[in-house]
Amino acid sequence: MYNQENCRFLKTHEWAFVEGENAVVGISNHAQEEISDIVFVDLPKVGRQVKVGENCCVIESVKSASEIYAPVSGEIVAVNEALNSDPALVNREPHAGGWLFKIKMADPNEVNALLDFAAYSATIAK
């Protein structure tokens, strides 16, 4: 749905997929593997203004909490309510049903500053 080849990434493993004036945000497959066993997602409030790089969401696994940073600036216009009852969707479908939230972009050019999939893959290669 949000194919990783068509996403742009932060080094901190968040992806953004441009959908009109919105950016859909999630975490990479690599990140969900590292976090494993996701049991709760503390989603941001719809209507909240976020700046690029701002901590705006927390993903909890059994063993740890991971902060999620906004890949672009703008307004949170939607959150993935399905995660409230099934947070492990992020593990199963990090680039589809496990998306986190949507940001109405303040400046669509910000996306161009993010890593493309090849560059992101290089950062996680050992």
């Binding site: 494993s36 066993d37 049991v39 709760f40 503390d42 927390v58 909890e60 696994s61 059994v62 063993k63 909490a65 409230n84």
Partner: protein, 358 residues
């Protein structure tokens, strides 16, 4: 300075089995293999095994072995053949140095199994106290590998390798011979399930691990172990107990037997008990989703009352935690736990969260 992590004799076997290795009190140990939730499920419903070789073994031998143990323990150490006793070693102030199990191997011989992070301190403490007794105290921790096999099917599986172990009563020890070496099996564990813990010399422990793998036992890591022990209401020394807390404050009053003639810390405990305690370890269950963690602040009627010492996501009970808060807060009361700046309602509940089925 480069800090080298210590490795157990099962380290390579754990890595081979897919263990995600982490630093645990200076030891390189698996936090999980495939999934903490799957490992938790295995132990609650079938069987799982843990590398607990980092735990310590201290042997006390001599005419006054029992006397020394009674003196350093607030609990009454049982001295029947092969009996084990869970106890706390206390400071003169009545606060907790460590929790451990003493197994009676004979009238003049006990094996004490202690927490990994406390081995050196426990050994130094026992050695210091031993000066007044006719005993020798030996730290054998580096010689032993140890596997905890836990779950409703654990003892049946252990019986295939150690015929007869199924008849070993709870909290008892038995000498064994396996893979050409002498060792011990105990009907104990720290998960709230039935099971055994098997000690073998470092050279033989991997053979046991491999035999258990062949029998289909799931390797489990520290992550699952922490969830299981918290559900079962067991303390994690260093987090839920330390040298500023008495057993009474740590919800372990049952371990203290003031009827004993004398033990280190008794006078202080009597005085502190008479004066009452401002805070006690209480258990909490979140009412809405979230994961409470060590360090989260606890609020009661809008006022900060304490801090969590352990907290996790339990597959059975969701967000659960323990922490030191005002003594008067009763079971059933509602508190708030601050998680990432968000106050989450929680109920004060009785421990254990999970009723031991053994």
């Amino acid at each position: 300075m480069i800090h080298t992590l210590r490795k157990t004799a099962l380290c390579a076997a754990c890595e081979k089995a897919g263990g995600k290795m982490v630093d645990f009190h200076g030891w390189l140990l698996p936090v999980q293999f495939d999934s903490i939730i799957a490992e938790h499920h295995a132990v609650r419903n079938a069987c799982g095994m843990f590398d607990v070789s980092h735990m310590g073994q201290i042997r006390i031998v001599g005419k006054e072995a029992l006397h020394l143990l009674q003196y350093v323990s607030c609990n009454i150490i049982k001295s029947g053949a092969n009996e084990g006793t869970y106890f706390h070693m206390l400071t003169e102030q009545g606060t907790i140095i460590d929790d451990a199990i003493a197994f009676c191997l004979g009238q003049e011989e006990f094996l004490v199994v202690v927490n990994a992070a406390c081995v050196d301190e426990d050994f130094a403490w026992l050695t210091k106290q031993a000066a007044a007794f006719k005993v020798t105290v030996t730290n054998e921790s580096d010689q032993w590998g140890m596997i905890a096999l836990q779950g409703p099917t654990a003892v049946g599986i252990a019986d295939k390798i150690l015929p007869g172990v199924i008849d070993l009563p709870r909290f008892h020890i038995k000498e064994i011979e396996l893979f050409g070496a002498k060792g011990y099996v105990t009907r104990t564990g720290y998960t709230g399930e039935d099971g055994v813990e098997i000690m073998l010399p470092n050279g033989q422990i991997e053979a046991l691990w491999n035999a258990l793998l062949k029998l289909g036992v799931k390797p489990c890591g520290l992550g699952a172990r922490d969830v299981l022990r918290l559900e079962a209401g067991y303390l994690l020394n260093g987090a839920d107990a330390n040298q500023t807390k008495t057993p009474y404050e740590a919800n372990c009053g049952w371990v203290v037997k003031l009827t004993k003639e004398n033990f280190i810390g008794k006078a202080a405990l009597e005085a502190k008990k008479a004066a009452g305690f401002k805070t006690k370890l209480k258990a909490f269950k979140l009412k809405t989703p979230g994961v409470p963690r060590e360090g989260c602040k606890v609020f009661y009627q809008g006022v900060e009352t304490g801090v969590l010492t352990s907290g996790t996501f339990s597959p059975l009970f969701k967000g659960i935690a323990v922490g030191y808060v005002a003594s008067e807060i009763a079971v059933g009361a509602e508190v708030e736990i601050e998680i990432h700046g968000r106050k989450v309602p929680a109920e004060v509940v009785k421990t254990p969260f999970y009723k031991n089925r053994v």
